[in-house]
């Protein structure tokens, strides 16, 4: 079988812009769907994905099969929805764009199987408005899938019907939060909803709704086609399967690679990304996007598994590393991150709406040489007040992760601004 160690990217090749339907079918495409429809009951599909131990690739790592199994299935005539979260907007994250642009049928097949598993007859792709090329490729792929009978009435001549609608967003980071996404799909301001009830029970227009990340859904066809045992064998660590890992910043070869779960961070930075550019040293990194805690060179041997990265004090998040070099000021880098979060706060709850701009103001003052040592205590206090449990959703706690770890690891950089009024030159 073809390139079995890289199921997600086996169709992505430098010699062509993207995989057409024929390209996709030639490497086993839509075989997973055929198996699901012909041989398996929806509950069986849920069980396969549960047994494979696929965990959500959007950042939180919730069990995908478990999520599906929590959807009420007793009333078969009830409307249920599936939503693919293609609102990739976490700074430093560029993995779903590649999957969407270069192998659109993989997502579509994953969605059809997922919709079959929860018996949803309508599914939405919630796509970032900025992903224009992905929009064109998906529109075309949806038409192809319909004309080949993979989508629409009687999928593959079964009694299962499914339509997929492509919705392009108008841009706001909070739309990636699943309940905010549902409000956006309903044409409202994308503020998060109170949980419970969870979307699995009461989501889009009050109907049971599953929201899965693009990369998560792209794993599903392969689990069905090649089996649970094969899938589990892909990984090197505790978590299963492969994952798209990436690195950006001043590394020699920034990029994206499909690697086994459990790959050491050192391998990603030193081998795949080629190490640091000449003249730069590694100072630290955010392992999985803007809303993860900094780790240091001493953590390079940590492996990319959900628990392993958590044990080191951060989160695997989206798996795309943002690399901090020794000539970039960590305080200014964190200011950039906090400005992003302050701007993108939806304004719904007070700690986030007021706390994030306050964080930005304090940091700007510190950098401008107007800071006091007490400001560092105030910032540390904010990381607690905006932390888990005090806000309506995960945006502000996520914003506090790089700040709290920067205060821990790069405290001297903060203090230098305050004591010596030492404004480090902006990076060039």
């Amino acid at each position: 079988m073809e390139k079995m160690d890289k199921p997600l990217t086996k169709n992505i090749r430098p010699d062509r812009p993207f995989a057409t339907l024929a390209d996709y079918e030639s490497t086993g495409g839509y075989q997973g769907l055929r198996k699901a429809i012909a041989e398996l009951q929806p509950k069986d599909v849920q069980q396969w994905v549960k047994d494979a131990d696929l965990r959500g690739r959007g950042g939180a790592g919730f069990g995908t099969g478990l999520k599906w199994s929590l959807v009420p299935m007793d009333n078969i005539s009830q409307t249920r929805y599936l939503v693919a979260n293609a609102d990739e907007m976490e700074p430093g994250t560029f993995k779903d764009r590649m999957l969407l642009e270069q192998d659109p049928h993989q997502l579509i097949e994953g969605m059809i199987i997922a919709a079959y598993a929860i018996q949803a007859h309508m599914a939405y792709i919630f796509l970032r408005g900025e992903y224009h090329l992905a929009k064109l490729r998906l529109e075309n792929a949806l038409l192809e899938a319909r004309s080949k009978g993979y989508l629409g009435e009687h999928v593959l001549n079964s009694d299962f019907n499914l339509d997929i609608v492509l919705h392009t967003s108008a841009g706001r980071y909070i739309c990636g939060e699943e309940t905010a996404l549902l409000n956006a799909l309903e044409g409202k301001r994308a503020t998060p909803r109170a949980k419970p009830p969870f979307p699995l029970v009461s989501g889009l227009w009050g109907k049971p709704t599953v929201v899965n990340n693009v990369e998560t859904l792209c794993n599903v066809p392969h689990i069905l086609h090649y089996g649970v045992e094969w899938y589990q064998g892909l990984a090197r660590g505790v978590d299963k399967g492969t994952k798209l890992f990436g690195a950006s910043g001043r590394v020699k070869n920034p990029g994206l690679w499909e690697l086994p779960m459990g790959t050491p961070i050192r391998e990603i930075i030193e081998q795949h990304a080629g190490g640091m550019r000449d003249g730069y040293k590694l100072r630290g990194f955010l392992p999985g996007g803007a809303s993860t805690d900094f780790l240091l060179p001493e953590h390079l041997d940590v492996v990319m598994d959900y628990e392993a990265v958590a044990k080191a004090g951060s989160r695997m998040g989206t798996g795309t590393l943002i690399v901090l070099d020794d000539k970039t000021c960590p305080v200014q880098m964190v200011l950039n991150l906090e400005q992003f979060f302050a701007q993108e706060s939806c304004g719904w709850c007070t700690p986030c709406r007021d706390g994030l701009p306050w964080t930005v103001t304090l940091m700007k003052d510190i950098i401008a040489g107007k800071g006091r040592m007490e400001d560092l205590d105030t910032l540390a206090g904010l990381t607690r007040m905006l932390g888990p449990g005090n806000t309506f959703c995960a945006l502000a706690p996520g914003a506090m992760e790089p700040l709290q770890s920067a205060l821990k690891y790069f405290r001297a950089d903060f203090e230098r601004y305050i004591t010596a009024n030492n404004t480090i030159k902006e990076p060039v």
Partner: protein, 163 residues
């Protein structure tokens, strides 16, 4: 002045706009859901959403103009002020910032003699910041209209304007 002119000639949404908005409605349980698409459709035809257009769309949706305004102002890609023929979004998120997005912004703005958010005097361009465009392995990046431009250098900025 331009807004004034528009106000005088506004005769409601065009048949094409109404047709496109109505076509979106069948995709959703509830027609309010089309709000964002509707605003984007208006914008595709007129570049931006004027007060008159906003009220007309709200009527079509059966929602109050205030509710639709809440939606319109929430999203980064809905423009409630006139913009140029081409909107240039420069990414200012973390990796692009590290690799020089401030310099790219300055270069863009200096070239057009505008500040971010302003339209160039000839009405051709508007420069706006945007959050991470998901191409961090090619930072810094800008989006010119719908097109992503990778690995932007100061020279590449000149090319955007055809020089």
């Amino acid at each position: 002045m331009k807004e004034q002119t528009e106000k005088q000639v506004f005769k409601g949404l065009s048949p094409a706009e109404i047709r496109e908005i109505n076509a979106e409605m069948r995709h959703y349980e509830d027609k309010t859901a089309v709000s964002i698409e509707a605003l984007k459709i208006v914008q595709k035809h007129r570049r931006w959403v004027s007060d008159e257009c906003l009220v007309a769309v709200a009527e079509l949706m059966d929602i109050s103009p205030a509710q639709l305004e809440g939606v319109a102002t929430f999203y980064n890609l809905i423009y409630r002020q006139p913009v140029g023929k081409t909107v240039i979004h420069y990414c200012n998120s973390v990796t692009c910032w590290m690799l020089g997005s401030d310099q790219i912004r300055e270069r863009l703005c200096r070239h057009l003699n505008v500040e971010p958010g302003e339209m160039s005097a000839d009405g051709e361009y508007t420069i706006l910041p945007i959050v991470c465009l998901g191409a961090c392995d090619h930072a810094p990046v800008v989006m010119v209209g719908d097109e992503l431009k990778l690995d932007i250098t100061e020279d590449a900025v000149n090319k955007i304007f055809g020089r």
